[in-house]
Symmetry: D2
Subunit: 261 residues, 4 copies
């Protein structure tokens, strides 16, 4: 069985804007899914905002190994219950790859705990994403940098926590820099944020960008069994302690009682 | 002007339970506030759950440098709007010190982005909090370890992100270990989580614990002006770019338009 | 081809001390090698201090994927040239697993850049190594903690840099704690320090400890091609810059000249 | 008493090259020292390579709080014993600020444990050092970026460990990026690497660069008493353990014996 991968897209720009539809006729998710399918070890499907539960019912998420997330103008329309469900699956071990304007998605802000704000400019300028960690699995098969002829500028400061690893740093023609590839871990789940990928440019057709996405899915995949009780805070009774223990002092809790949350 | 410090307490156990009231007659917040006032450089006040807006209206938060947070059984009663307000102030530069059972507070989970779960046992066992980073400002004036005769056990795994720094690691009589002093930064705000401090034990009367709290307030204080627009994502028009830039390619946005959130 | 794994041991205690020889008749390296061979994907051999170049000539290191290092009383006898050679191979991508008293080996201190000092006691006390990052590949197949009936105590502070990840934290019967499993990256090479494993106790016969060692070899293996010029600092001439560039200002260097080191 | 600050310079280019002497008539160290003296809280002196013990005898280092290091063409002439002495003082708590070509100094490589290699080009191109962590004490008083009209390009990958914090990221006219301001801790000592500062350009006369240097000295200063035994590994005898302990099992060491190193 391959790595069960779901590409999520809000799928609005492609239906409303001719330029975007011209670049991504089936939607950004289909372009990305096709790129991922070049790796025969990935089982790729898609989900979009307009579907019931945004295409991410609990049962489906429960058998998803890695989720990619592209959203932009409709972050606010994503149901909070679905966001919590995705977060819980990340804690349990599902990988998450957040793309471009997904920096402001509810799920990314939920997992970072920060504003995830940045500076931006849509002027079709040149971007060069340098590989600063060439030995990282996500950079496998790349040269020193990815050249992107037309990109949206994202500039620092980028309000995220210090990452586990910095994989890419981008140079922009207009004079800015950006930490464009960052890794995190939250619970058992690995998270990769990747900045290149604006809807009005053909960035997801770029072979290097597609290589990054395939690498990232394999990197984010945690083969361990789902850690289903990751959010629980179990009581360890004194007579189950690993060392012999006599209870002392006062207590608010009765034996076996659940803790407060 | 001193460091404007607010000690927040849900203030329920002390009014409902004789043991807790006996240990902390004025409430845990008053014991902590008195300890902090031993540092003449701190301007200390308190706030509690039952007050309007939990004692944390926007105006007061706006002139708070460091906030300490103690909560346990009423995390769910804290208003989400107040939680967001506190989070925004942390991003702007307010320090936050989260105490003991505050690991499950809304504000700590909000800023960590993880479940913040752990294992626990209330058996009055011995805890020894080792200083693993003796040169850290928070450990100033301490010996190799803080001895706590009776403590609630908190055990690993503790579901938080890898910290910026690990300051304390605790040993428990029943056989567990815990990362009991951890630092983080979120936006311009410094965060310190400190595990010792259960309501049924006199831990906040311990001189070493009080030293830690005073040190932590000074460490968490960011003297920089508040970063009030930290959560904004401003557009940088092409003609304001630091390098000369000619716009290219298609665009969804009109000049000067705000980005999506 | 499997992961080419070399187990290095100074191999002195086993020849000088009856207790150690009784526990590890062929040497600690042979016990570890046998444990690793239970994973058919590993090609395991050994090397020891008394061999020419300590069994680690350049050619052999060049085809080693992961090196395990056990040393104790003869750190000072390890040739500096061999240490530099091993360091360079780590930078190029070779994994390194440093065991127990190897905390004071030249190679570990070389790669950490810190004293690597700690507190210790050889009293055969109980150790419990808690898994604090259960989703980490190195912890695969373990329960919540590894119980070690007799161990040498290693206590904090442990003078190493903040790790990339903390995988294990140990509890000791005598009252100390220790960060007993830590990961680092140096250049393209992954490093894992694992504390359990004293020569006068049968720790390397423990099934859980053996599981950790097998997991660690797989985790430390970097399948990328060796980054052979990782230590070079190449000049990028102005006419090879990715952006058009006209040289300006004064210069100390002539075109094409090598930089200073 | 102010923060005792020593500016170290190899002081060769200024005596050999007219351009450099024109920019820094008294040597780079005097320009930097003058800039630091604008902060009355700093007690600033200088030291250079040609002095006995490079101006850094043990007694002087012992009363130095923060050391700045500028070297380029004579890294190899720095005595290894002085390097070890500086490293030990960093572990004890002395702050260290490594400047520009000091990336290849013995002391920086010693403390990083990595090659510290990078790409470079001396073409007088424009550099823009963006502040990515505006709330960091080192960035106090700066705008969004430092503009440097003529700079030497340093490009990624920069072979250092993942930093504690990334404070500056630089954009170069020729198309590269670089992590130009990084913090580390080693033992009790704080380390800041700052890339801008080439000898053939007047970078150390730039007001923003001077602000960074003053801020960095204050940030790197650790007011705690020197941790003089930071590199020791003391034995904790079983009868001095904090928990009651009966020795068990075999032992190589006699009671009170020093450990191996």
């Amino acid at each position: 069985m391959g790595i069960r991968t779901v590409v999520w897209n809000e799928f609005l720009h492609e239906r409303e804007n001719d330029v975007v539809r011209g670049l991504y006729p089936g939607g950004i998710h289909e372009t990305i899914a096709a790129a991922l399918r070049a790796d025969a070890g990935l089982e790729v499907s898609t989900a979009t905002l307009p579907e019931p539960e945004h295409g991410l019912p609990a049962e489906r998420l429960g058998r998803t190994d890695v989720l990619l997330w592209w959203g932009h103008k409709a972050h606010g329309q994503v149901d909070d219950a679905v966001v919590e469900r995705v977060a819980q699956r990340v804690f349990e071990g599902m990988g998450l790859i957040v793309l471009h304007s997904g920096h402001f998605s509810k799920i990314f802000k939920r997992l970072m705990g920060t504003p995830c704000s940045l500076r931006w400019r849509e002027a079709g300028e040149r971007e060069r994403a340098w590989v600063v960690n060439p030995s990282h699995p996500i950079a496998r098969g790349l040269g020193p940098a990815i050249e992107i002829a037309n990109s949206e500028m994202y500039g620092e400061p980028f309000l995220v926590p210090e990452p586990l690893e910095t994989v890419f740093l981008s140079w922009f023609e207009g004079g800015e820099v950006f930490r464009s590839g960052l890794t995190y871990q939250r619970g058992a789940g690995r998270i990769f944020y990747f900045e290149p990928g604006h809807e009005t440019y053909p960035i997801y057709h770029d072979p290097d960008v597609q290589t990054v996405l395939r690498n990232a899915v394999r990197w984010a995949h945690n083969p361990a069994p789902a850690w289903v009780d990751v959010s629980d805070a179990p009581n360890v009774p004194y007579d189950k302690a690993r060392e012999t223990l006599e209870p002392k002092g006062a207590s608010l809790h009765k034996a076996g009682e659940a803790g407060y949350r």
